[in-house]
Symmetry: D3
């Protein structure tokens, strides 16, 4: 692998989990917080593969939980880096739930997590560039700038009217 430039498939990571009783609420559905925890681990592994560094979670973008996931379902998480900045990486994540006896798979969630790579002295360190390949990977790569503006505004580090990419969205 090239250590300066990497593709999304270099960091592609799959996790499978079975929903056990302690992962569910009293209705027998997977608790949202447990899924957020699994998503963080899966996305962190992808960011580690991209950077070959220890990483820490910097942020998670909004996540909505549309589909109930049930006790005994197999949850499949897929993550890959969608864009690299200086020392941070945006990771794109999809979640599927599979009811094995009914042979049904449902796409449940997508999300973006951001991680910072740290060296052994706990300081941010430069990460390789991301080179998107497929059309979809290029779209996500381009959208990363817009999502980054949203994060900076939400963190109070940018004023809304400086966010040119976002303004274009809301203007006719």
């Amino acid at each position: 692998m090239n250590t300066h430039r990497r593709t999304p498939s270099d960091s592609f990571t799959i996790m499978n989990e079975i929903v056990l009783p302690n992962d569910t609420n009293t209705l027998g559905n997977l608790m949202g917080g447990r899924l957020l925890h699994w998503m963080d681990i899966c996305a962190a592994i992808a960011a580690q593969k991209h950077s070959n560094q220890i990483v820490v979670t910097a942020s998670v973008d909004s996540v909505s939980f549309k589909e109930a996931i049930h006790l005994g379902d197999v949850v499949t998480l897929q993550a890959q880096v969608s864009r690299a900045f200086n020392s941070s990486m945006e990771v794109y994540l999809e979640v599927f739930a599979q009811n094995i006896p009914r042979n049904e798979i449902v796409r449940c969630n997508e999300a973006y997590y951001t991680f910072v790579a740290l060296d052994s002295r706990n300081k941010p360190v430069k990460v390789p560039e991301l080179m998107p390949e497929s059309e979809l990977e290029k779209q996500r790569f381009d959208g990363a700038l817009r999502r980054r503006q949203v994060r900076l505004i939400l963190a109070g580090k940018m004023k809304p009217d400086e966010a040119q990419e976002l303004k274009n969205l809301f203007l006719p």
Copy 2:
């Protein structure tokens, strides 16, 4: 308690957790996903207190992790309902980390989680109104409409140029 109208303090919920080894990455810092899990449980208890119903997580808004939380720290989570809609509730959440021997407390995160109340047949059910009392509670109550538009846009259920409250933010 009035069962039709409730105040934020009716649902106020505190959780304390000690950061144990399995909660940390190899740098000894609390993993983001574990914190998201704790936040979900604390916010869900607040939504249950408001609605007297079983609740399921509908969404979590963007969360950024600015401060590293360390092994052995006491993490304090505080949650209260910030606005009730028909069958859903927005919960506001703050997270603090305390290093006891150094007598230091740091405010680490704030977040908004949204929950839907379900009856015993698993169907959405009406929840009591929220009556904000303090000035801060009223600000969060008003901001809830704007945050709801963001969620609807992100979930693909509203077009950006229909979101009047948001458009105002980006226009001079």
Copy 3:
């Protein structure tokens, strides 16, 4: 906060837990040992807040489990230091269980845990005095001497007939 004298409210600590499947026996009731574990963590945080030191559990006084706590209940634990001795602290603890859909709260337990504060070399270290404020806090403060005699007798460090406070209890 005064570092030589503290009030019970300086160490007041609340924990909320949801009873999950793995916390229950085959009847669906919270296991006593799990509750004792949560009580120890909650009381330890209170003792750490009072002393600003790492603490270790020295003893737990008798605890009786009168009320069954059920799967899905919200368990609320409240702890505060009831008296400080040289390097040890007695912590008073109350436990409540809440059935959210039925809107019922039951007071389940009270208990006294004792902790010793240790410095970074693992040696006992002096802790601040406790200044009780309310009438109830003063009663618990006074009773602490009697409870301490019971602990010393049970640990074989005091003979029953030297325990003057206790003897008064049993004499007409």
Copy 4:
């Protein structure tokens, strides 16, 4: 086994646990609450063996933690029923910690837990009598009455001056 009368060895139960990182505080010592949890499980198995019924914890007598137990130690718990009453059983429990590389075993704790046997409708049910055999088992059997008076007084179900066995302890 006789189903009306049983000996302490009929219910004798051993548990071994290794102290893992999540069981310890930041000093690397086993947390008291985790040990209380293990003790409850071990004692409950002994009470189940005696009664052939599901059991629930009714109370734990005072426990003091004299010896620090360390990360990696093997903890051995031994439990056996010390006396049976109508539907309740008192269980005697001893705890040992073993540092394998140093070949050191330390006796850390003893404790009494009380359990109630429940039938399938969740109602208390009669349990077999206990027939002590060794001299030590007979002493514990006799002492059970005195410990029961302490529990009744602590639970507010008996007045101290009615507890004849206890009064004898404090009178010259």
Copy 5:
């Protein structure tokens, strides 16, 4: 997917886990039993995908642990069905450990687990045939008969001198 015949890639399953403190012994190495547990879950998901049924573990063949896996390593498990019999499936499993900062991947283990598919009344149920595709998959498919003879001998259900495939191995 054809419900009567499936290929190994139809059941291919990947799991990634990070080695956390509680997974390790006091030398900081992953405990063998924890790895066997993860392997069982990963192989069970593969068998469920092949059969669209709930499955239970019937046996695990000998596993040797040649490489120490360390705290913080990313463990990758890959499983796929290697042969289907009437109601049972043999699953082939490989384990890799990755030290991210050093960019090292080590192949640690391979193993064969066997599962039985059960219907909703808990009875064994017929599973689809396996059609191997690659040369390696065909070799594993053929070897399955020999491994099955070993299991039958070890379970006392076949005499060694009836195991013709095995005898060939030991004869010149």
Copy 6:
């Protein structure tokens, strides 16, 4: 205890576990992988008692799961060293499941685990000899050579036709 020679009873280790919800699959049966994990811990304690050293799992021989173990059952594991080689020990293990209300005990499994003893620098270290006492212990001691040949063949470190003990099994 003699530090050069030890008997199987010197290392005899018992563990009792209650099957909790998270240990079971959706049929309410104990998952095979969880049992393998418990077996590893119990066998490791036996090997540590024999050697007074930290030990790591080297291999587990084939294990078959004949009996379903159910939610709420008490699982009893018994382990003892069956033969010591230079720095490795073979441990024999039996597993029983007990349904307390039905007063039924079932013998579920037996297995052989092998461990290597390590010194504080992580290097293999010589362990005491094992002196079998009972007839059964002597049979297991003798069989250990044959099982060791199987392990060496399976690990690719011995050719089948060099395994004289095994060849005798398959020849008339």
